[in-house]
Amino acid sequence: MTTVNMTVNGKAVSGNIPDNTLLSEFLRENLRLTGTHIGCDTSQCGACVVHINGMPVKSCSTLAVSLDGAEVLTIEGLTKGGKDAELHPMQVAFNDNHGLQCGFCTPGMIMTGIDMVKRYKAEGKDLTSDAIRAELEGNICRCTGYHNIVKSIEDAATKM
């Protein structure tokens, strides 16, 4: 068992956990942040993507104890405010463009989408629909056929 301290969605959290605890387990079981989904647990599907120190990472393939002092952002951390929460522009875009059906892959899609929009903006590159498809290489959706996910990210890119 190891005590780990990190910042999750802006709040300091800590846990005394077995060393083999995955970040996905720590978030879901210890912190009850169940918005991060586990689709495959083998690093293929991307449903578990969260940001660690600003970078998207598959939380099912990262040990929680290795993240002492890290800043973690999950889907729950995107909205501002409590009861009258304001959705993140990426969440609004998925809603507006029918970018989800069952919604299982959506948290990972949104965390991945936000990163690609930020990165392309910072580098001054054009986030074309081909680029979005390439960036989504590690995110699998079993429902939508991807077209509306791509549209959602394109839409959010104009609003972020």
């Binding site: 970078m55 040990l63 290795s66 991945t112 990163d115 995110n139």
Partner: protein, 264 residues
Amino acid sequence: MYSTKYHKPASIADATAALTAGEDATILAGGQTLLATMKQHLASPSDLVDIRAIDGLSDISADGNVLTIGAAATHTAVASSAVVRDVCPALADLASGIGDPAVRNVGTIGGSVANNDPAADYPAAMLALGATIVTNTREITADDFFEGLFSTALEDGEIITAVKITAPAKAAYAKFPQPASLFALVGVFVADGAGGVRVAVTGAGEDGVFRQGAMESALGANWSAGALDGVAASQDGLMSDMHGAADYRAHLIAVMAKRAVSAA
């Protein structure tokens, strides 16, 4: 995953101590391969020694035309490094094509080289560029380092600290990805470097990465895609599996080699 004890040493000396003390201690880098192996119970190390906090192990630098990449540098760091882009752009391109963005943010060059997966990308680059693999105890040439499927010249507990590459005059990598795994079904790295023209093939060999001698001779005489016309890759020693038979892989080696030469 079986239980294990996690260590995060700040120096090579501390890492070596932890690796020696543990009954069955293993080096952990990005964990993008190792954690999956542990989940499947194919590995059950008593101790994990995370090398990523070791001072300087993620550094990337160039001294003249010699590029040194720390073992813990992530694929993203290599892909976006201005130094790598300057000295060996083919290597930055290769790194940007490994897996997906989330894997690239965590997976490391040392982990990939140490793992020597027969379909991994970096081994082809190391062999074609005549790279030197630097460990905590010695320097190993790429020719001596890659020994076979998932096997290398590394001793138990030996830590790769960096890889060193001399800038080639020309180099490029062309990969035909296996669409589900994203690894190379066939990948060919061509380089015209200090050690002459070298062509290294990954994804195809039953014993992992290998050099394609006939193509090296043809390109040594005339560096052009056309020089490879009629230089067929042999099917001997190539893998046959559900993703492609040996003759298909042999055909792809020729196609990828030409693409790489044209891009170099």
